[in-house]
Symmetry: C2
Subunit: 276 residues, 2 copies
């Protein structure tokens, strides 16, 4: 048979490499989060369960309570968890600003891509702190759209991105919140706050990231706000489309794209004597 | 004697921690660069020897040839190397666009903070490639001023930074070159090009970086172009000073500062048959 040769070969280590590359955004954000057996973890704002599946399957012996304010999202998250066969997650509809749990109910709290949408993220964090047992941890992951830059550079592309930042601001959120996690967690009373940036760097040597991140994650997200940006009068249609074209341009063989997520971990101080 | 207590104590591991923190920019940029015994390394554009000392002391059994176009800088580099007791560096005055070496003279080439100042960085790289033996490596480190963002955000601070970017452009350079290393090296004919971003993330939990990087490296560099920026009519004095004040503001307890360097390594292909 004349099978065309496959440039990367078929050996198992190469398959592993391809798999690693494909799964790397999850790896980049979640690799250092694992909860001990028996620990009680609150996932605040689980949405449709995108993070829940990763979280719960990586810590199969921890017990998760995943809450969201939107019943519809929650139902979808529940369906996904069921079809993934996860038995360690309990879903519950609740408002992050009025959570129906006793103080100190959880060993750990996990919050991902939630604070960016809240008008009072500091209040939400202070509330979550109260739900932790002394010594328990809070983990937060957020993006920061102001961390975006690329080659070739493009004013139009930055203007299209600025539309999303402005729409999020008008909706009461903050698309630049990633860089603010350290002061936010400190301000909410957490101790031992450690922030680590998780930079996504994409060039032509990483084709999975070009497709999976630059094109289908970031640029698709910008394209998704076109109608709202035009309706809000933030930009003209031609200029927006030029910006999106320029973002796609960064996926060419000589293009480069950069974006940074921030991950923060803080501790609820065990007590006044050990308070820092 | 009533010596005031030192908050961090004096035990050896703590001294090590302080030393590690103080030396981390060198660590961040150089940690993965070490040359084998006997290898011939060209450092192109050594300036006053800031990188030479680190390079040569980390690879004591490699032989370095460090060149620069400026006789005065070279003399200073030579003085520093001598007072550091380095015996493995030969200094030579030369132009990166007309280097006085035979093709294939070097096993490795190292270039740091040089391409950003050149009008034709691709030509310089192609010339350096010719000086490498087949299979030899080129390492490039460059910053990217467009990678700068911070909290609190400030339009004035971004405008002050843009003055430096524009001055560098007017001088024929490119202060946004870091993100372009992958296409640049590929375009100059290097194979196996790998770029890794080296992000400097600074918050109040890292006081050595607040002082050493945000204040004394980055902000000092911006302050240093004040006279030229005003003379070139790029900005008003008040606005520039407001920008610098806002950069200093990011060093407060609730401030955050981000900057990214890029490090690239490329290989001179061993030959056409193994060319990728």
């Amino acid at each position: 048979m004349n099978t065309p040769p496959y440039v990367h070969g078929y050996d198992p280590s190469e398959n592993q490499r391809l798999q690693d590359q494909a799964g790397t955004l999850v790896e980049l954000l979640h690799a250092d989060t694992r909860y001990p057996a028996g620990s009680r973890v609150l996932e605040a704002g689980c949405g449709v369960g995108a993070q829940t599946l990763t979280l719960a399957s990586r810590s199969p012996d921890a017990h998760f309570t995943s809450i969201d304010i939107a019943a519809e999202s929650l139902a979808e998250a529940q369906r996904r968890a069921a079809s993934a066969g996860l038995a360690n997650v309990e879903f519950r509809q609740a408002d992050i600003f009025g959570l129906p749990f006793e103080p100190g109910s959880f060993d750990h709290v996990f919050v991902c891509f939630v604070l960016e949408h809240l008008a009072r993220p500091a209040d939400a964090l202070a509330g979550l702190r109260g739900l932790l047992r002394p010594g328990g941890s809070l983990t937060v992951i957020e993006g920061d759209h102001g961390s975006t830059y690329f080659h070739p550079d493009s004013r139009a592309a930055h203007e299209a991105i600025a539309c999303l930042v402005e729409l999020q601001r008008l909706a009461g959120g903050n698309a630049l919140i990633g860089r603010q996690l350290h002061p936010l967690l400190c301000g909410a009373g957490f101790a031992d706050v450690r922030v680590s940036p998780r930079m996504v760097y994409v060039d032509a040597s990483r084709p999975e990231w070009v497709e999976g991140f630059t094109r289908k994650t970031f640029t698709a997200m910008i394209e998704g706000v076109r109608a709202n940006a035009l309706a809000a009068g933030l930009i003209g249609a031609e200029r927006f489309d030029e910006g999106v074209r320029d973002l796609h341009r960064t996926t060419a063989a000589d293009g480069v794209f950069c974006y940074t997520f921030f991950k923060a971990v803080g501790i609820r101080s065990p007590g006044a004597t050990r308070e820092r």
